[in-house]
């Protein structure tokens, strides 16, 4: 929202804060200022000028003119405007302003510029140079003044309906500067209501007020009004519409002017739309409405979408001679829903959705009458105010204690007088006895913004200035925080992984359908994003692997080999419940060359360091896995994840081994160290056995069989090596024997050895 300094200053008695300071003050006390910029500084220098002669320059669309500029003397200026002609009064911009220089155009000297309204920053009009009906060469342009525009971040005004107009912001500035705010008169002459108003739902429309005028002249607004609207980003249209926009920007009260001759019947009805009802709007679009939208209707149907946009057929046009001027109040959420649904955000809807003050409508109409009388000479009010008002429930006075306010702010020396002065400067009603406050809230703050004593802490705090509080350490109990074990577990895991050479990646929580399909992940297991704005965001990931696969192929273009890992959450749909979020680890060891075995065994070793005691068992390979290189990882009889190599079809080059572990399970199955076992006192004996095995026999199976056959004396059975020769494949193991209470005799060792050999059929 843009604010004009001049406009603010008109509402404050004796404002002395310079324009350059005002942005910072507003930022520190009220709302965030995004920028301060000069507007129309050139109006100090631009003058009214009379074109004395205008001769076309042959072969061009230009004319060379001689211009009486009064203050600057007679100047020769080259002008390209189609309406440039001898005798006219226009605006002369001297060199040095608006980027104008003394130049030669087509070989002709040009000293300054004749300007259009757009070039002057008055309106969007740029079809020709501006024309004045009257004026003296050398005079300043009436009503056009240099100004400073302060831009305030709309987000920081979300809770302040009153700050969507200059008068509300002026109240803040007046309070900050310690100057009085000038009141706005709200008196209207009495008279019979010029129109009948019927509000069908007072919750959706608490108030609808209107005035009727006749003998209206529709014409461009005076320059000062055009410039003012333009300076705050509103386009001047005609004097009637400009007045409504002016008051919206001044009082935050959106208004609408109807061509009264185009309204049917003598009654305005505020009602919800019928299903499928059409409303042609003044932006040229026709909107299809439903019962969620509120309309303003006459006997013929909707003439406007309430609080959002006016209707097209009853819009003000050149032939308009009578108008109905609306100032109404609508339910914020309803306007917001309609505006969101129609994808139509207007200056009006933006204001109404902030919960505007119903008290404001009549004030705006009174001010509009005053302004219309200036911009449309001869205009006459017909009858009196039409006003259907269903006041909102009053906000109860807020009570609080000075001591409470001091404790909330942390300002022990805060006085009752300070609090009273601040609240009164912001138009709150204050009664105070011995530190007990009773505060009444002004109507424009009572719609939503202020209802609790905590809301008043902000009012007092910001006006004192938070910089005037003395920072103080809180007095709190000294306790060891109850830390969740996952935190230190995951931190330790990350350290372990980096120590082993793995680099951490973060991937998005999203995958697209193609990614899920490629890995055969069932679509119904996924939570779906209803409103993705970009491709690749349709689904929430049920596996880290789709994005890990992408990491592999991306990095394979840059590296011969690499190791990386991600710790992230799988998100599995659970119907209407919140989904199950399971932390997983995915670790990758990639090599562009080699047979891939080393990568898989490296990850197997990694699994053993993360989940000590885990085993790896071959598993039926999934579609994306190498059919002969896939296994489940098992800890204490429970599957905790998978170890596999990506199917060659999944990687563009090289071999990628992957370890995918469910970290919830790994943590749950971890065991803490128990009581220590006394160290062995007697020596052990060992012997080796070599077992002939089938071509694809699993070492794990042979080991398991040996364990079964070796008996209780076998302390350890260790795989030594695998041998493949002409006579087939064999594996060698070393079996270590021992007893807790004695040294084994040679006979005992021999007996175990024989037992093992016969068990294995050797």
């Amino acid at each position: 929202m843009k604010f004009s300094y001049n406009w603010l200053a008109e509402h404050i008695d004796g404002l002395t804060v310079p324009p350059a300071e005002i942005g910072k003050l507003i930022t520190m006390k009220t709302a965030e200022c995004e920028g301060v910029e000069a507007h129309g500084a050139h109006f100090e220098h631009v003058v009214v000028a009379r074109v004395l002669t205008a001769e076309p320059i042959p072969g061009t669309h230009l004319s060379v003119t001689s211009v009486d500029t009064g203050r600057y003397g007679v100047k020769q200026v080259v002008c390209g405007a189609p309406n440039c002609r001898a005798g006219m009064l226009t605006a002369y911009v001297p060199p040095g302003q608006l980027g104008v220089t003394t130049a030669k155009l087509r070989g002709v000297d040009s000293d300054g510029m004749l300007a259009s309204a757009k070039e002057l920053g008055i309106s969007a009009e740029d079809e020709g140079i501006i024309e004045f009906a009257a004026g003296e060469p050398g005079a300043a342009m009436a009503g056009c003044t240099a100004d400073t525009i302060v831009e305030i971040d709309n987000k920081s005004l979300t809770h302040r309906p009153d700050l969507w107009g200059h008068h509300g912001m002026a109240r803040e500035v007046a309070a900050i500067a310690g100057r009085p705010l000038k009141p706005i008169a709200a008196e209207l002459p009495a008279g019979a209501p010029a129109v009948e108003i019927e509000i069908r739902d007072a919750k959706l429309c608490p108030r609808f007020s209107a005035l009727r005028f006749e003998n209206v002249t529709v014409q461009p607004s005076p320059l000062w009004l055009q410039q003012r609207l333009e300076s705050v980003g509103l386009n001047p249209i005609n004097n009637i519409v400009d007045v409504t926009n002016y008051l919206m920007a001044e009082l935050a009260q959106p208004m609408h002017a109807y061509d009264a001759a185009k309204l049917q019947g003598g009654r305005i009805i505020v009602r919800v739309a019928e299903e499928g009802e059409l409303c042609p709007a003044l932006n040229g679009q026709t909107y299809t409405l439903d019962a969620g939208n509120l309309v303003i209707a006459d006997a013929g149907g909707p003439v406007g979408i309430a609080g959002v946009i006016g209707g097209g057929p009853s819009a003000i046009g050149e032939g308009t001679t009578t108008i109905l001027l609306e100032a109404a109040n609508f339910h914020a959420a309803s306007i917001r829903r309609t505006s969101t649904k129609l994808k139509l955000r207007t200056d009006a809807s933006m204001r109404f959705e902030k919960s505007q003050d119903p008290e404001n409508t009549v004030r705006a109409l009174a001010r509009a009458k005053w302004l219309l009388e200036q911009v449309s000479p001869g205009i006459r009010l017909v009858g009196g105010l039409a006003d259907d008002y269903h006041p909102l429930p009053a906000v109860a006075p807020i009570e609080f204690d000075l001591v409470w306010m001091r404790r909330k702010l942390g300002k022990p020396d805060l006085t009752a007088a300070e609090v009273t002065a601040i609240l009164r400067s912001l138009a709150f009603g204050v009664a105070e006895t011995e530190g007990r406050f009773t505060v009444t809230v002004p109507s424009w703050r009572a719609t939503k913004d202020v209802s609790l004593k905590d809301d008043l802490v902000e009012e007092v705090g910001r006006m004192i200035g938070y910089g005037n509080l003395t920072p103080a350490p809180p007095l709190v109990p000294s306790v060891v925080p109850p830390l969740p074990p996952e935190r230190s577990y995951l931190r330790g895991l990350r350290q372990l992984l980096t120590a082993q050479g793995y680099t951490e990646v973060y991937n998005y929580s999203f995958v697209n359908e193609a990614q899920a399909a490629e890995l055969g992940l069932p679509l119904e297991d996924h939570v779906r994003v209803v409103n993705p704005i970009a491709q690749g965001q349709e689904l929430l990931r049920t596996s880290l692997l789709p994005n890990i696969k992408r990491n592999i192929n991306d990095n394979a273009r840059e590296f011969e080999s690499f190791r990386c890992f991600e710790i992230g959450k799988e998100i599995h749909a659970r119907g209407r419940e919140l989904p199950e979020e399971i932390p997983h680890l995915a670790a990758v060891s990639f090599d562009k060359h080699g047979d891939g075995a080393a990568n898989l065994f490296e990850l197997k070793r990694l699994a053993g360091t993360i989940a000590p005691g885990c085993t790896v068992e071959p598993a039926e390979a999934r579609g994306y896995e190498h059919p002969n290189r896939a296994a489940i990882v098992i800890l204490r009889n429970e599957a905790i994840g998978r170890l596999f190599e990506f199917h060659p079809a999944m990687v563009e080059t090289g071999r990628a081994a992957v370890l995918d572990l469910d970290l919830t399970k790994v943590q749950a199955l971890r065991t803490a160290a128990g009581k220590y076992k006394p160290l062995r006192r007697f020596p052990t004996s060992a012997f080796d056995v070599t077992v002939p095995v089938a071509e694809r026999e699993l070492a794990g199976n042979v080991l398991a069989r040996l364990r079964e056959g070796a008996g209780e004396l076998a302390l350890d059975i260790r795989y030594l090596y695998d041998y493949k020769g002409d006579s087939g494949r064999s594996m060698s193991f070393r079996i270590t024997l021992g007893a807790a209470d004695r040294t084994l005799t040679g006979e005992e060792v021999t007996a175990v050895r024989s037992q093992v050999m016969s068990w294995m059929g050797l």
């Binding site: 935190r487 350290q495 980096t498 970009a534 990386c564």
Partner: protein, 340 residues
């Protein structure tokens, strides 16, 4: 007679020891002369035939010869051993500038690092660390934070809505609600984590980023406490004394709400392009917890008050490492990630 034999043997053996070229030759000599069945043993066997006087003299001579020869053998052997060791050591020359086998150290993601650093700071101040789900209920993400449906504040946070009727959390603030219910007052908690906004991605905008929510609820927690706390914390994060200021900011779940700015660390407040000449950099939103939020968290706002803040971890990482493209953080490019 025997004395002569002995001297000749000693002299001849000494010469052989001196001439031996290998440790093996020495061993042959030792066995032949000094061994149990060696030449000296034979001499001592013959001593029985001698008179007691002769035996004494020959015995002395024998012992002397034995000692001399053993010393010579040992000395010679030591020389061989030393030479052998020297030769081995020489052979074992190694080029230590050649690369080490096996992987080097991996890197932790910069967000992990900064998160751990900040968690440690808070834990040292008695805060617990909580986690919350990425998928949240609309109630926890909005309603419980005093943002009812159709509240314009919902516009501030473009939301990913989900097929199950829930949403991807737009901020870490819902963990306030979970934390209050879980811990009860008084409490001190932080909740770092991933949050989502439905935005187009470019160099400075991401739909996925990281925040750290903080909350402290106790009796008489005030704005002055909040300022003290933020100043202390930010000085620790930036490892220098920072100047902070609070100004009004609107967030429905706090009242009063603030934007906290720190004095620009680049220009010390003098004004520079980083702070857009203002001398201040907007850093985090904070405020006193709104009484409605306390109440929905099961805490009586008449008895307790609290402050809450939200720190942008992604933003801190980008500031610390001067990262100019936010997309790098979730791009998975190891050329980028191995720099940290």
């Amino acid at each position: 007679m025997i004395e002569t034999q002995l001297s000749e043997l000693a002299a001849a053996t000494a010469a052989r020891i001196a001439a031996a070229a290998t440790a093996e030759e020495l061993e042959v000599i030792r066995v032949e002369v000094l061994g149990r069945k060696g030449r000296l043993a034979e001499v001592s066997k013959d001593m029985g035939k001698l008179s007691p006087e002769q035996r004494g003299a020959v015995g002395k001579q024998l012992n002397a010869a034995k000692q001399t020869l053993e010393a010579a053998l040992t000395a010679r052997k030591t020389a061989f051993d030393e030479a052998a060791l020297r030769a081995r050591l020489d052979r074992e020359w190694l080029d230590l500038t050649a690369p080490a086998a096996g992987p080097g150290l991996g890197s932790l993601h910069p967000l992990t690092q900064i998160q751990a650093e900040i968690e440690d700071l808070f834990v040292s101040l008695g805060f617990t660390v909580l986690d919350g789900p990425e998928v949240e209920t609309e109630f926890n993400n909005f309603d419980a934070l005093n943002i009812p449906p159709d509240h314009p504040a919902r516009d501030m946070q473009d939301t990913f809505w989900l097929s199950n009727g829930h949403l991807l959390r737009t901020h870490t603030s819902p963990v306030q609600v979970r934390g209050m219910k879980k811990l009860g007052p008084p409490l001190r908690m932080i909740a770092p984590g991933r949050v989502f906004r439905n935005e187009e991605v470019d160099a400075s905008h991401e739909h996925t980023f990281y925040q750290l929510e903080g909350m402290m609820v106790d009796k008489d927690v005030s704005v002055a406490h909040l300022i003290y706390f933020m100043k202390t914390l930010l000085s620790a994060i930036f490892k220098r004394d920072v100047t902070v200021r609070l100004r009004p900011g609107y967030f429905p779940f706090v009242e009063p709400g603030f934007e906290l700015d720190i004095q620009c660390l680049i220009c010390q407040g003098a004004g520079c392009p980083v702070c857009k000449q203002s001398g201040w950099v907007e850093l985090l939103p904070c405020g006193l917890v709104h009484p409605n939020v306390l109440r929905l968290g099961g805490i009586d706002p008449e008895e307790y008050s609290g402050f809450a803040f939200g720190l942008g971890l992604t933003r801190l990482v980008m500031m610390r490492y001067a990262i100019d493209d936010i997309r790098q953080l979730q791009g998975g490019d190891l050329r980028f990630l191995t720099q940290f």
